[in-house]
Amino acid sequence: MGLTGFFLITFLIVHCFINSMIFFNDGGETFNHWGHFMGSNLIVRTMELGLFAFLILHIVQGLILWAQNKAARPVRYAMNKAEKNSKWYSRSMGLLGTLILLFLILHLYHFWVPSRFGGMANVQVLETTTLGGYSNQEAHNLYLAMQQVFQNNLLVVIVYVLGVFSLFWHLLHGFQSAFQTFGINHKRYTPIIKGIGVIYTTVICLLFVLMPVSIYMNWIN
């Protein structure tokens, strides 16, 4: 879990960083520029395959853990005050992960599927956009896609906010947990790692939440 977790944590940094380009509020120009780079660069595309592999591995590992851990306690306690000894989100990684996965399916359906495969049934065809530096190139207007998904769709925005909310708690545990799994627990450094974990989680999730919210609220247009 730790290794795949680390990879996904790194991915989130890149994902969040590039998506934050929408906050330039330049009609999506910077964002689309980077989006195009990510969609067309061979190395990035190869890494995307890796990402999916790791994601699936992360899920499969999670399922195996869940099954093994459930088998480790066939008879449950009649009374269990787990809140006295641990954090609810640490105990709920499976549940949080499942919520994130559900959200992810919707998320991929919204953005990744159309950008990779173009128009599919029930998927809007994306308009192409002309990029500043590469006037002759055409690319999917991902910025527009975001606008279309979020602009007038309160339900979708709420689902996204909830998805990021799950991600927040998942990361709050997962970040420091990954270090522990790799045997890094140090009197001096572990408090720092934990601090970085909290900052990382907060910043990433705040930015992600702001994206659909800002578009819905018309803070960017």
């Binding site: 853990l65 093994q68 851990n69 480790a72 009649a78 787990a82 006295k84 641990s86 640490s90 045997g183």
Partner: protein, 255 residues
């Protein structure tokens, strides 16, 4: 300290043997002194049961001073009850008040089958130690005790890991029924000492293999074990075990 007496309702798990199906029975005890230990309260209950011609409740206990690790009750949803860094035998009745209902269950773990009532079989721990929780030095093989100086900090840390009493509260508390704190503490202790160095790789691999074989769950770093450990064994020991395991797993030339 103000002393007082109380009447209590106890819901206790009763199970005749490993194979039978258990259930909760409810008992009333009267006039329990706040100065009694939790097990002394159980003594009172058992005397009462015997006089009524019923079978006393079976529970493991021995030293009653918090060091042998034999007592093992899950009290009101927590291993060893509500006090921190404490064993059941050292839990005192002033932790409760008149009219309380107390639910008492055995440790619940696939690897710790119930023997009877509140007693469980923790021999899985012995087998994990058999897999490598030792330094192979026959009697008479030792060099002078001061021949190898050991950094005081490391020696102290090894001691803190070695303070584990093997009660199994970590397994009982862990939502996954994992034994990583117990195993980590032993691997950690021996890996911190120069004497433990020659066998460190095989030790980590073998003990962890045995731990998995016993049916303990996996660690997901919830840290309930550390919070409930009567001796306050740190999860840093689990990290150290993970490191030992990674190192041994990647470094070994065997299959």
């Amino acid at each position: 300290m103000e002393h007082y007496h109380m009447n209590l309702t106890l819901k206790v798990w009763r199970q005749k043997n490993t194979k039978s199906k258990g259930n909760f029975d409810t008992y009333k005890v009267k006039d329990i002194s706040s100065e009694m230990s939790f097990l002394e309260m159980f003594d009172v209950l058992n005397e009462q049961l015997i006089k009524e011609g019923k079978l006393p409740i079976a529970f493991d206990h021995d030293c009653r001073e918090g060091i042998c690790g034999m007592c093992s009750m899950f009290i009101n949803g927590q291993p060893h009850g509500p006090w921190q860094q404490n064993t059941t035998c050292q839990l005192h009745m002033r932790a409760f008040k008149d009219g309380d209902t107390i639910v008492v269950e055995p440790w619940r773990s696939q690897a710790f089958p119930v023997v009877r009532d509140l007693m469980v079989d923790r021999s899985a721990f012995d087998r994990v130690i058999q897999a490598g929780g030792y330094i192979s030095v026959n009697t008479g093989n030792a060099v002078d005790a001061n021949a190898i100086p050991i950094d005081k900090k490391k020696a102290d840390e090894a001691f803190m890991a070695a303070a584990c009493i093997g009660c199994g509260a970590c397994v009982a508390a862990c939502p996954n029924g994992s034994a990583m704190l117990f195993v980590g503490a032993k691997i950690s202790q021996l890996s911190l000492l120069p004497q433990g160095d020659p066998e460190r790789e095989s030790r980590a691999l073998n003990m962890i293999t045995q731990m998995d074989k016993e049916g303990f769950g996996n660690c997901t770093n919830v840290y309930a074990c550390e919070a409930e450990c009567p001796k306050g064994i740190s999860v840093a020991n689990i990290a150290r075990m993970n490191k030992e395991y990674l190192h041994a797993g990647l470094g070994t030339e065997e299959n």
